[in-house]
């Protein structure tokens, strides 16, 4: 009977997790990230690049989460028991990560000199040569997959779903859903996002902007979401809608003239 109850609980929890927008990570501290997961994310990028974004490069990006947080001069280290490797952060607050055996063996963490909750992280996949205010859908598809694999997502705490965390968290397959709630952040506050494939154009509904706040205003109070100060820059994209090819342009119109 106890076994049956456990199986039932597992089934229900997985079903719930597949329906929810909830993304689970297993972080000891939201501001630190697992080095191994980031290396795994970079490996997935190499594996999937030829299909989704052949000309793109992968970097990881730091994003201020609070309005009063400055990331100027932010420093990053890969830290474990016996090593501390500094990472070079570019002026646009992006960085790359190299494979290091000792760091992997010692389950290292990537640690910034910033307080927990003050910043967030994303994978950043960019095909060069795109017009300003334009992303490429294949880049975003790969960005989501790498982000899920690398655990660079909203900071749901360890134990949020108990022992099932490890089974259902960080699965890149999440990105293949028609409308996954994987948050992308634009450079500036967003007014409109349009998908363009040749003559076909489609403005995304407002429910795909601002974390869906036009439908659920309380969502932005979710303390686990890393969108807080980034609310006006957040958007979802129908990543799993295969009627839009990878070369689809994602054109972003900003709220203000700072474009």
């Amino acid at each position: 009977m106890r076994v049956f109850a456990l199986v039932l609980l597992a089934f229900c929890t997985i079903a719930r997790a597949q329906d929810d927008a909830v993304v689970v990570t297993a972080l000891r501290d939201p501001v630190k990230k697992s080095y191994k997961k980031m290396v795994d994310g970079a490996a997935l990028f190499e594996q999937r690049r030829s299909e989704l974004a052949p000309a793109a490069a992968l970097r990881f990006k730091l994003i201020a989460r609070k309005p009063d947080t400055s990331l100027k001069g932010v420093e990053l280290k890969v830290e474990a028991d016996s090593i501390a490797i500094p990472l070079k952060v570019a002026p646009d607050r992006t960085f790359t990560i190299e494979r290091n055996r000792t760091a992997l063996r010692e389950n290292a963490e990537v640690t910034p000199n910033r307080k927990a909750g003050s910043m967030t992280w994303r994978a950043d996949v960019r095909t060069p040569g795109l017009p300003p205010q334009t992303r490429r859908l294949g880049d975003l598809r790969l960005e989501c997959e790498v982000g899920m694999k690398a655990g660079l997502i909203s900071n749901y705490p360890q134990g949020f779903l108990g022992w099932l965390d490890g089974l259902i968290g960080q699965r890149p397959e999440y990105c293949h859903r028609a409308e996954p709630r994987y948050l992308f952040f634009a450079e500036h506050p967003v007014f409109s996002v349009t998908l363009v494939d040749g003559a076909r154009r489609e403005v995304l509904p407002v429910d795909m902007l601002y974390g869906g706040a036009a439908r659920d205003p309380k969502w932005k109070q979710d303390r686990y979401c890393d969108c807080e100060a980034l609310f006006d820059r957040a958007y979802f994209v129908p990543l799993g809608d295969t009627s839009w090819p990878d070369d689809t342009r994602v054109e972003i119109e900003y709220m203000g003239p700072n474009s």
């Binding site: 509904p205 407002v206 036009a214 205003p217 609310f231 006006d232 119109e253 203000g256």
Partner: protein, 89 residues
């Protein structure tokens, strides 16, 4: 006299306009035409369109959303409260 009353009734009947159909509700696009980007205020929009769903941001910008049967009208107000952008979907 009876003839005069009958003639009067007939005349009134002829001149009374047939009951009119209720006016079709203007679409969101039609209602949008009464607003001016760079000029219309929140009060103007409220008077023309009623209350929308408001999403407010820390920057002071606000997005107002109106949903029709198949349309979606999104209005952007700058922090000073003036309509600055619109889009219909």
């Amino acid at each position: 006299m009876r003839l005069a009353v009958a003639a009067f009734v007939l005349l009134v009947g002829c001149t009374t306009p047939p009951p009119s159909k209720p006016a079709a509700k203007p679409s969101l696009v039609e209602m949008l035409s009464s607003l001016t980007v760079g000029k219309s205020t929140k009060s103007d929009v409220r008077a023309a369109l009623g209350e929308g769903t408001v999403v407010d941001f820390a920057s002071g910008f606000e997005v107002w959303v109106y949903r029709g049967q198949s349309e979606e009208l999104v209005l952007l107000f700058e922090p000073a409260g003036i309509l600055s952008k619109t889009r219909v979907r």
